[in-house]
Symmetry: C2
Subunit: 197 residues, 2 copies
DNA sequence: GCACGTTGATGCACAGTATGCAATATTTGC
DNA sequence: GCAAATATTGCATACTGTGCATCAACGTGC
């Protein structure tokens, strides 16, 4: 799952980042709608056709590619018998530990989201992939019948995580390690609301 | 906010439904990707240009237009001092009461979602509009500072509501009145998960 | 280091989405 | 009925996204 570290793969990853950076800076300068995929490709030094080899669409280029759970994390989760939410958060911790987060890029995304809130659905939608993975994990414990409930939980978690990312990106004093802690706190706030029936 | 019941508005609403029905049946018959907006327009008896006067894009035509809270519901909510979640659910009850739900159309949507799960994001995304309204309501109680938390709560509510709609559409024995009850139950299940840290 | 298989980059053609604009038809309010 | 307001439509156009064929670059086994 990790990069194979051959020249080809390193270049591939570099190009993917170049494209994302180009997309973000151009969108910040000219507005997301005004920027064309052709411009982004030009700025990244590739052809438009190659742009679509890297990202399925313009949205995806802005957000970049979300990380996935490592196989051993999944294996650990299936075996563990701790409390569900606690274990899910631990799995997230592993994920974030191995993914090397780029605060600079996150800040660009944040600035763009501030200027163009209509892009928020894209942002949250991008976390859907991660949310699906969380739901899959939860289903291994709850059983397939509970998938809708697992998805509801997973969606709440990934939403809270997305919020936390925005906080982290804008607060240099905040460590990567505390991301999941803040997410957990947000989820407890949510729990509080759900009790007020 | 409700239809002004002038000839023009009745026609407008009828055309909107015709388009949605055309979009759904064609998508079910031929597959969502294969259907073009031109085909949908033809099936609905209008021009392609008019199609885009009614819906901003192809996705929106499939989902239709989500209802909004009535002004008096909003007014009531601001004055009420009941528990937050309870009042939000009451507001939803009012909303569903006044919106005339079309089970047939909902069933079509459901069948389509079963065949093409890749459309689920569109479906949940369409509830974002409703989620935003719920968040706005909640913010009138919690204050603007708590908007991220309000949005987290609102998103959980609208997700649970969307799930419930799917159940309701496929279960003729289920009454409209019990929709919010089932939604509330789902939210309590979620609360249970959030306690398992 | 060389030849061969694999993978990536690119140009081109093309179908489809979506918007602006101007002309035309329909509805409404008076 | 008539004028103002609003809806529908055709047309031109910009842009997104895909399939396909070709060419260049890399990796591998020898």
């Amino acid at each position: 799952m990790a990069a194979k570290s051959t020249l080809r793969d390193r270049r591939r990853q570099q190009t993917a980042r170049d494209i994302q950076r180009a997309a973000l800076t151009l969108a910040l300068r000219l507005g997301y709608d005004s920027v064309t995929t052709e411009q982004i490709a030009a700025e990244a030094g590739i052809s438009q056709r190659t742009f679509f080899n890297y990202y399925l669409n313009k949205d995806a280029a802005i957000i970049g590619t979300a990380p996935s759970f490592a196989d051993d994390t999944v294996a650990w989760f299936r075996e563990s018998s701790g409390p569900l939410l606690g274990d899910l958060l631990k799995a997230l911790r592993h994920l974030l530990c191995h993914a090397d987060l780029d605060r600079g890029m996150s800040q660009l995304i944040n600035r763009l989201l501030d200027e163009a809130p209509e892009l928020l659905p894209i942002f949250y939608g991008s976390l859907k992939r991660l949310g699906d993975q969380i739901a899959d994990l939860a289903v291994t414990r709850l059983g397939e019948d509970a998938r809708p409930d697992a998805e509801l939980l997973a969606q709440a978690i990934s939403h809270a995580l997305a919020d936390t990312f925005r906080i982290w990106a804008n607060d240099d004093a905040m460590s990567e390690g505390s991301i999941v802690d803040v997410t957990a706190a947000k989820l407890q706030t949510l729990r509080g609301f759900l009790e007020q029936v």
